[in-house]
């Protein structure tokens, strides 16, 4: 359907025209990509048009076949492709297909809109995105994604563990492990018990301890313990898989959309505003966003050129890093200290206050809340680029969170350790006391923590438990609980179930974290916002802009917080199966609260950087977190003996024994042996080796792909910059030549047209004009000149040291013949002019590609091309003006003067005039310095001319430079003048007279020189100021040409000569040139202004 879109822009004939143009163009501009043109122009839905087009294409093909082109040129005309492509369109089915496709697309769009309703929070996120940009939105998308993961996790644990237990397991209170100990019943409903997740909550499906140890439950014989273990592992497996998948996908897309490096500023300036914004607030925030993006751009610029005091920054950075490390160490120590203290407190005190119970979680949450801000402040010291700052900040916060979690979990495991020792102690009784201590010693060792302090505390505790163990010999829960009543440790029954304890702690942490999040949102965002908003008027400084300001949404910290939160879930999920479900609720609440807070209290970021956008970075952190959170859990599962009194694995030596037990008991024997073989080193070792090999292989492939990717990108970059360079060179070359010829009659556009005509219509031109022909045949030289010219322009036309290579070639010609010098010089000029014409033409072509208008124009003019006589064109005189005018406007100020007001019949004159007139100027630079010889003969003949030429040389050279700079003035001035002149032109159309003197070429050109030269000579003299001159010139030249055309009385002799010279080019070239010129000119016409149109009508 896509090609069809463009179709209606093109009409049949226009298309034809464009096609015809196309093959000419394809000859001329091999480097232009004309596929656009071909595709666009060939498309249409209208069968009639298609038919016409196909007919035309067939004609074209026939035409092309008999042309002496190379195959590549023929192919580039693409006629055949188009025929093949569109022949099928004329059928009826094609129409149905199109209609069906249209319908389907509409339906798909509708369906898309409908689906959006079911994507949770889509509208909310979109709203936030519209206000705060994609960075902030990415946080919410990430949140939503985590929410999705947690739903799956919750579904897994819920479906396979919690619900079976609830339905088929032993009901609450039926066994000892499912009842609250009697002495606790009284306080089971107290607030602080509930708060610390004790009492009824502790003996519920929330925690590991509640689940029964029966291997099969219910009538169906559901193997709950096995399911518990498998689900616990599946949670990790699923998380890993989904994370890796997401990361892979993200990296794919991020690779695909890597290059927006081009035109960044243009993007900011031209595409900044969203024109659909109708809400003042949105407009405000959009403006703010634009300001931000521009600020960011400025900042980037400044960062690039910023030269800093190295010593100071390095010192500052070292200090900052030391501070960060200190605060990290401090926070870790603090957490460990708190955990340790709480353990001591538990032992020494019977009744703990609320604070003492929650100390650990509160401190952890406080640290996680406050430390990032501290890091933020510290980061200000470092003076990094904001993006680097953000990265550092992220890394530091991540380390902080991990440190917190780890110190917490290690402290917990430490406690667990002591608990299992108690267990072991109770079980093995007094005789094994020494064993258990040694066991303890070995167990603390692997934890490998920085703290040595636990020693005394644990020792103390051990003593107490030792006492406890002695007092209660039977290891069963109920009696133990009774016995415990007398011991100082009130928590001993719970303490016997370390899994539940860990689960409780994690859940508690999660809950408190949630509360702190809510509190921080309210406090830091909402109340601050209120405060700033309403007290701003009464405060002694500007609250809104100075100190508190409104809160910004800190993407990095918030995302990390999510990661941290998820880490807690992963850590605790095994011990508290309902944790994922709880987290789902938490995330939902967070989503609403955050989005509300963002929309009400926050202002958009001052600096938005792409780093904050890269989701993969977050995902990588999450993956890292997952891995690190899995470690302690796995460690606990593998290392510790499950509690004797609670949980599905009680009584087993290790938790994972459940698998081997199941395999032994519930599967046929052969399966057991197979598993045994598979798990033997014979299989495992090769498998690991194979894995390593695979990883290495894939890694190397990825690396090589990356490299090739990089190289390709570099190539593209190079090609682009080279293109730019080339264009710049060509442009410079053109500017220079124009500069030289700026005050002359010849029009660049004419030259362009000449050029095109020369190429497209060489057969017609052949033999007509010596000059012209030679030039056209020398088309290969164009390139050489084009290349050589760019070098010369910089030194300036006057620098004698840099003669133009192209010119030097033509010089011999000058030398050889005295008279023909003009002629040859003119060819040289032509060539020169050509050296830049490709540029202009290329531009035209561009226009044409994107410009249907042009084609239309061309088409209109088309008939005229084929018109038999040049004379027939008289009536059209006024028309051509307009297009030419545009060209001028559009492209180069330099060109503007000349092309404008030459009636088209003058074209030949122009062409020849070009030659003639250009001669003095182009030759000027080298003639004067490098080549005095040719002049001397001429001097003798045309004495009056010589001084004139010299004069022009001198007077013009400076002017040309100024022209270059003052381009704008130039054409504006001209325009007005040209308007006034226009009427005069129209009246005259006397070119028929030129046809007569075709014969004596060699001689006449010299005369011709004279005239133009003298003309030039004249011009320079009245305008003393270079700047003023250009304005006057065109009119004068025009008047000259007009006079020439009209063969009026003024300058009689010269005009005659002039006229005689002109015919030498022959009619055909003129016609062709005109046509091609029109082609070339009509392109720019799109640029038509109203006044221009008016003008052309005049």
């Amino acid at each position: 359907m896509k090609p069809a879109k463009a179709s209606q822009r093109y009409r049949g004939i226009r298309r034809n025209a464009s096609q015809r143009y196309l093959y000419q163009e394809s000859l001329l501009l091999s480097n232009l990509d004309d596929s656009f043109n071909a595709d666009e122009t060939g498309d249409s839905n209208d069968p009639e048009q298609i038919f016409q087009n196909i007919q035309f294409q067939k004609d074209l093909m026939a035409n092309i076949r008999c042309r002496p082109w190379t195959m590549g040129q023929k192919l580039r005309a693409r006629a055949k492709e188009i025929v093949l492509k569109f022949e099928g369109r004329l059928t009826r089915t094609r129409g149905y297909q199109a209609a069906g496709a249209e319908l389907w697309r509409k339906f798909a769009r509708l369906a898309c809109n409908f689906v959006v309703i079911f994507i949770p929070w889509e509208m909310r996120i979109k709203k936030i995105e519209s206000h705060f940009g994609s960075g902030v939105a990415s946080y919410f998308i990430f949140l939503r994604w985590l929410f999705g993961i947690n739903i799956v996790l919750a579904a897994m644990t819920g479906a396979f563990i919690v619900i079976p237990e609830l339905i088929a397991g032993q009901p609450f209170g039926s066994t000892a492990r499912k009842t609250i100990p009697k002495e606790q019943v009284a306080s089971a409903q107290d607030l602080d018990t509930v708060w610390s997740l004790g009492g009824y909550l502790q003996y519920s499906v929330l925690f590991y301890g509640y689940y029964g140890r029966e291997r099969r439950i219910g009538r169906a014989g559901y193997r709950l313990p096995l399911a518990y273990f498998l689900v616990g592992m599946a949670v990790f497996a699923y998380s890993f898989i989904i994370l890796l998948k997401k990361m892979a996908k993200n990296s794919r897309t991020s690779l695909a959309s890597a290059s927006r490096e081009n035109y960044t500023f243009c993007w900011r300036v031209f595409c900044a505003w969203d024109y659909l914004i109708g809400n003042p607030e949105a407009a405000e925030s959009k403006t703010a966003a634009i300001v931000n993006s521009i600020r960011e751009a400025i900042l980037e610029e400044q960062e690039k050129k910023k030269s800093k005091n190295l010593a100071v920054t390095i010192c500052l950075r070292i200090i900052a890093n030391i501070l960060v490390l200190l605060s990290l160490a401090g926070s870790i120590y603090l957490i460990y200290f708190v955990v340790d203290r709480s353990q001591k407190l538990e032992q020494s005190k019977k009744e703990l206050t609320l604070w003492e119970k929650n100390e650990v979680s509160v401190v952890v949450s406080l640290v996680t809340m406050l430390a990032p801000s501290a890091f933020d402040l510290i980061a200000a010291l470092e003076m990094y680029h904001p993006r680097t700052t953000l990265r550092f900040q992220l890394a530091r916060v991540l380390v902080l969170y991990l440190g917190n979690l780890y110190s917490l979990i290690i402290a917990l495991l430490d406690k667990v350790n002591s608990m299992s020792i108690e267990d072991a102690a109770t079980k093995s009784n007094t005789s094994h006391w020494s064993d258990s201590t040694s066991l303890f010693a070995t167990r603390t060792a692997p934890a490998g923590e920085p703290w040595a302090t636990p020693g005394p505390g644990v020792g103390l505790r051990r003593n107490s438990t030792w006492a406890l163990a002695e007092s209660s010999l039977p290891p069963r829960a109920a009696p133990l609980a009774k016995a415990n009543g007398s011991t100082p440790d009130t928590q001993s029954p719970q303490g016997q179930c370390w899994e539940t304890y860990v689960g409780q702690e994690m859940l508690k942490l999660s809950v408190i974290d949630m509360l702190f999040t809510v509190a921080s949102i309210l406090l830091i965002d909402f109340f601050r916002g209120l405060f700033v908003r309403y007290l701003s008027d009464y405060w002694c400084w500007d609250l809104e802009n100075k100190f508190p300001e409104y809160g910004e949404f800190k993407i990095a910290e918030n995302v990390l917080h999510l990661v941290y939160n998820q880490g807690m879930i992963w850590m605790g999920a095994f011990f508290s199966p309902c944790l994922p479900a709880f987290n789902v609720l938490k995330l939902i609440g967070l989503m609403y609260l955050r989005s509300w807070a963002v929309l009400t209290c926050n202002v958009p970021h001052q600096q938005v950087f792409r780093a904050s956008r890269s989701n993969n970075f977050y995902l990588a952190m999450l993956l890292f977190m997952l891995f690190l959170c899995m470690l302690p859990t796995i460690f606990a599962i593998v290392r510790y003996k499950p509690s004797l009194n609670c949980g599905p694995f009680s009584g087993q030596e290790k938790i994972y024994d459940i698998v081997s037990e199941t395999i032994e008991k519930d599967f046929p024997a052969w399966f057991g042996s197979v598993v045994g073989h598979i798990s033997s080193p014979v299989v495992i070792l090769p498998a690991v080796l194979l894995l390593f090999l695979l990883i290495y292989y894939l890694q190397s492939i990825a690396r090589s792909l990356k490299l090739s990717n990089h190289q390709l990108r570099m190539q593209i970059q190079n090609a682009r910059s080279e293109d730019k360079k080339k264009v710049a060179q060509m442009v410079e070359a053109r500017i220079q030549t124009q500069e030289e010829s700026a005050k002359r009659l010849p029009k660049d556009s004419d030259r362009v047209s000449q050029l095109s005509s020369a190429h497209s219509a060489t057969p017609q031109n052949n033999g007509n004009v010596v000059n012209f022909d030679s030039v056209s045949s020398k088309s290969s030289r164009i390139e050489t000149v084009a290349q050589s010219v760019p070098q010369s322009p910089r030194p300036g036309p006057r620098a004698p040291s840099s003669p133009l290579p192209g010119v030097s070639k033509s010089r011999p010609g000058h030398d050889a013949r005295r008279y023909p010098r003009g002629l040859y010089a003119s060819t040289g000029d032509l060539r020169k002019s050509r050296s830049h014409t490709p540029v202009t033409f290329a531009k035209h072509a561009d226009d044409i590609h994107s410009e249907p208008l042009f084609q239309k124009d061309f088409q209109q003019i088309d008939p005229s091309l084929h018109g038999p006589g040049v004379s027939a064109l008289v009536a059209e005189g006024p028309r051509p003006h307009a297009p030419r005018y545009y060209i001028i406007n559009e492209r180069d100020s330099h060109k503007k003067n000349h092309p404008t007001f030459w009636p088209e019949r003058h074209f030949k004159i122009d062409a020849s005039g070009d030659i003639v007139e250009m001669y003095p100027r182009n030759v000027r630079p080298y003639v004067s310095r490098v080549y005095p010889q040719p002049h001397s003969p001429q001097l003798s003949e045309e004495e009056e001319e010589r001084p004139g030429r010299d004069l022009t040389k001198r007077s013009f050279a400076p002017r040309s430079l100024t022209d270059l700079h003052r381009a704008p003035h130039f054409y504006i001035g001209e325009r007005s003048e040209s308007r006034t002149l226009a009427p005069e032109h129209q009246g005259r159309a006397h070119y028929q007279s030129w046809n007569d003197g075709f014969g004596g070429q060699p001689d006449r050109p010299t005369y011709a020189h004279r005239k133009p030269r003298s003309r030039n000579f004249r011009h320079p003299q009245h305008p003393l100021k270079p700047r003023v001159k250009p304005r006057f010139e065109p009119p004068v030249t025009e008047s000259d040409s007009m006079s020439a055309a009209s063969s009026s009385d003024q300058q009689n002799s010269s005009t005659d000569q002039y006229l005689q010279v002109t015919p030498s080019q022959g009619r055909c070239p003129r016609a062709v040139g005109r046509l091609s010129r029109r082609k070339a000119e009509s392109g720019p016409e799109l640029a038509l202004d109203l006044d221009d149109l008016i003008y052309s009508n005049v």
Binding site: Q8, C266, L853, N889
Partner: protein
């Protein structure tokens, strides 16, 4: 309103507008009713103030430029024809659009005309070049007083430097079109990527 509008609008006029702008009959009548509701002076023409009452234009930093685009050079009023002619630039290009007159002018909503319309928003002096000063003015409009002049100037310089290809320190329409094409491709690929992301996640 629609029926009233259509009665007010003469058939032949409607036909002409249809021909000129490519709007459908119903679109024209709807736009006409919009036109009359905007026309507070009820004299069949809109003034600049009328346009400024449109909130989208009022809050748009480039709103004045857009409004200016409705008015022919040196005039303060625009009639329905002119109104429609300008609006035609915004008409999306339809797949099945057929042109009756083959030789007629290019439709107003062609891509290049659209681009040129956008170009003119920046090209204040209508010299078919966006100069540094013009760019600065636009930037100033967009950012207000938040950013200093020299900083904006450097942005403008960089912008021109990026887009400029012929070294004249201004952005011509050709160059503008090039940049726009680049963005179009960029946006298309990004949109398709986004779509893929959305549909996948």
């Amino acid at each position: 309103m629609g029926s009233r509008a259509s009665t007010l609008l003469r058939d032949e006029e409607l036909e002409e507008i249809k021909k000129e702008t490519g709007f459908s009959h119903s679109q024209i009548t709807r736009l006409y009713s919009r036109f009359t509701s905007l026309d507070k002076g009820e004299n069949g023409t809109l003034s600049r103030e009328d346009f400024q009452r449109i909130p989208e234009l009022a809050i748009n930093p480039l709103g004045d430029r857009i409004i200016n685009a409705f008015f022919p050079e040196g005039e303060d009023q625009v009639n329905f024809r002119g109104f429609m002619r300008t609006l035609a630039h915004f008409r999306p290009i339809e797949d099945n659009e057929k042109s009756k007159d083959v030789n007629g002018p290019e439709p107003l909503n062609s891509r290049s005309n659209k681009l040129h319309f956008a170009f003119r928003l920046y090209d204040l002096d209508k010299d078919d070049k966006i100069s540094r000063d013009e760019l600065l003015q636009v930037l100033r409009m967009m950012v207000g007083v938040n950013i200093s002049d020299e900083q904006l100037g450097s942005i403008a310089d960089r912008t021109i430097q990026e887009a400029d290809q012929d070294g004249d320190s201004a952005i011509s329409f050709t160059e503008f079109v090039k940049v726009a094409n680049f963005f179009l491709i960029l946006v298309e690929t990004e949109v398709s990527l986004l779509l893929r992301l959305v549909s996948n996640s």
